[in-house]
Symmetry: C3
Subunit: 299 residues, 3 copies
């Protein structure tokens, strides 16, 4: 049930960029987002723009214009665009895809096998392309565990609150009543399957106080990062989802003490009169590794 092999990505901030719009693409190149979700789906309309979006992605990525990890958001199976999306965008420089409007694990299994088929055709290593399913239907919320288990490509699942509330036929109420249980279920399902839970976009992009209120909730509930609509949200989002200096120095001290205890043949290390059990050591290692990844990125 353990194993942290999947956590090689930093997933604090995943920013949507409408890919038919070169102005947005150019400004995204400089954004401090961990992942760019180059959109071919809902922000790319009318349909004529979808091919422009795909062409842009292929050109920008081939020219290595982005420093960020790239996950295009493709169109769903019922859009009539999915095959075009995947045939054209399964190229080097693309880490994987965000898949929208999934309902069940079977939807993800289908995408997994489609990607595998393309990997065979293009003679790429199997498993090259990862998946981040968007959880934005009532069915997907309840089937989130199945969605995580459906493919080893799934490195994260992300909550999409707007489409979700529409599917629920509920109201995106100010108090957050309609989102609270789904949000908790999504984080639980992800953590239960060693997948990163990514919180929903924050709709009111200019209200940074409200963003911060939501970041606190996201951190409480165990989210690893957040979907982002606007670059101005990035500093706060990255800050909240990075380990604090104190976290890091605590973790380093713990690892140090554990190493010494082992060297001296003691069963277990002690810190502040408390034994440091194996789960605490594992957690400390996580924090240190995550911090190194983030620091490596800043260099």
């Amino acid at each position: 049930m353990k194993g942290l092999e999947k956590q090689k990505y930093i997933l604090r901030s995943l920013m949507f960029v409408p890919a038919h719009n070169e102005k947005f693409l150019n400004s995204a190149m400089k954004a401090d987002a961990d992942v760019l979700l180059l959109d071919v789906e809902d922000s790319v309309l009318p349909y004529e723009n979808k091919q422009i979006a795909r062409d842009n992605i292929v050109r920008y990525v081939s020219q290595k214009k982005f420093k960020q990890v790239i996950f295009p958001r493709i169109n769903d199976r019922e859009s009539g665009q999915l095959l075009k999306d995947l045939m054209q965008l399964t190229i080097p420089g693309i880490s994987g895809f965000m898949y929208p409007k999934s309902y069940t694990g079977q939807d993800i299994y289908f995408i997994d096998k489609l990607l595998e088929t393309l990997e065979y055709e293009k003679r790429l290593p199997l498993g090259t392309f990862k998946l981040i399913p968007l959880i934005e239907t009532s069915a997907a919320v309840l089937n989130a565990q199945d969605i995580c288990k459906a493919s080893k490509r799934v490195i994260a699942i992300a909550f999409g609150c707007e489409d979700f509330v529409t599917d629920l036929k509920g109201i995106h109420d100010k108090g957050g009543q309609s989102l609270s249980v789904p949000r908790a279920l999504i984080s639980l399902a992800a953590r239960a399957n060693n997948v990163a839970p990514i919180d929903t976009v924050h709709i009111k992009v200019h209200d940074l106080q409200d963003l911060e209120r939501n970041l606190v909730i996201a951190k409480n509930l165990g989210f690893e990062g957040m979907l982002v609509l606007h670059p101005k949200e990035l500093p706060l989002v990255n800050k909240y989802f990075s380990p604090s200096e104190e976290d890091v120095s605590d973790a380093e001290e713990m690892l140090q003490l554990a190493k010494e205890a082992e060297r001296e043949g003691k069963g277990v290390a002690v810190k502040n009169n408390k034994f440091i059990g194996p789960p605490m050591v594992a957690q400390a290692q996580n924090i240190v590794e995550k911090n190194e990844l983030i620091m490596g990125k800043l260099r």
Copy 2:
């Protein structure tokens, strides 16, 4: 995963009426409830009254006394009354049955097959009688998806909070702590399976302010309608679960724009600088259809 064929019923207000009591039956005839839940179960005691209730239902329905859609609430399998209920009440004029105290999908599968057997015997079209399972045990809350999937007859599931809290051995606390997660789960399970979620009865029937507070929660969480104990609750309940005039005119405008865009060969319509994607068109169609059903009823 889509398809809205099941939504032919208006399910804003479903009112319980103890069916052994002719005074209640007579006054229910005039009530503005969408559905009458003619009760043969918990409000009909002692057992001698159950046969009176069944006889009343058969007589009133045969004489077409009700303008509303009729769903008797039958007794559960362990009551020793279920076979009598179903053999006598599977008659024209009855749309289906509310089944109480289910635990699993298998309970609903059993009722489905029992109804099918009766439909064969009485040479009625298969699927004549629909089902509204009451979700009023801890097991049913957790198995609500299975319950929705267990039979195509299931058009709605309804939360029964009083029996639920008893089964949970919890407390129906003022803040609603014991109901909040189950309520959210029931709505999610229903919407995930294209079934209408119906919120629990409001116990304090004379406190309309508290009713309104609960209607706001129900709307947030995506409920389609509510169980009702007393006719005085109906105006508020019907109002909250009807699309507002603004909803309807917005939806009509959207459909108009989408039609024009199609006629003019444009890929997609635009409203207030926003593209109107297929999900928004589908949602608008829903609202307009629901409004027409409600208006048709008022005529």
Copy 3:
């Protein structure tokens, strides 16, 4: 789905006692806890102390030093200690085991079969040793129903909030956001499977006001009892999870009226103008039986 055979234990207060520490063991002998969770796991470190803990448990239990029901908390499968724990501690006087860090029903199935194997070897009746799985991972929260169903030995499941929040990578926030949905799910899963839900330890052992606030929540959500870290919490915990005098006298009156109604050939009894249906009679019986168990203990 019914049957209350499992409820023969009083499970209001289950207190952890580090079993390598004789001072704690001696003071626990006098504590008014329903169950002692003699710990061989997380509070027993370094590893050298684990054998001391096992030896202490065997000695104290063989000498019948405890008046309470005894459930040692054993180490998990990955600790390398589990076989030693179970081989040494499957002795008369031990009612069963608390199993930590389960993820799925399969983990519990494994322990069930291991216990069965030991019961065969030691020629003890099959099913001698019961299980209380700790629900302290995200996976276990979502798989709590499977965990309850995995073995007939499971008499209760207990929430472990600290390890849970670590596994979730969330924060144990003051408002209880990260715990609220899991807490509700655990109680639902237990009640849905006729297993007793036990609420998490209260960490701030010296803040009895906060304890009481948590007891109110636990009662609302249907919990049967609570894990306890310190004896000073026991009076409040036991009080909250005992039926009140009023509960008991109400229940006794109900049973009396039901008995009379049966003797007089009436279908059903009436109390305060309300019919007393079979579920209310069953509930009343539960309360009276629980009260008798508690009273029997005090004698």
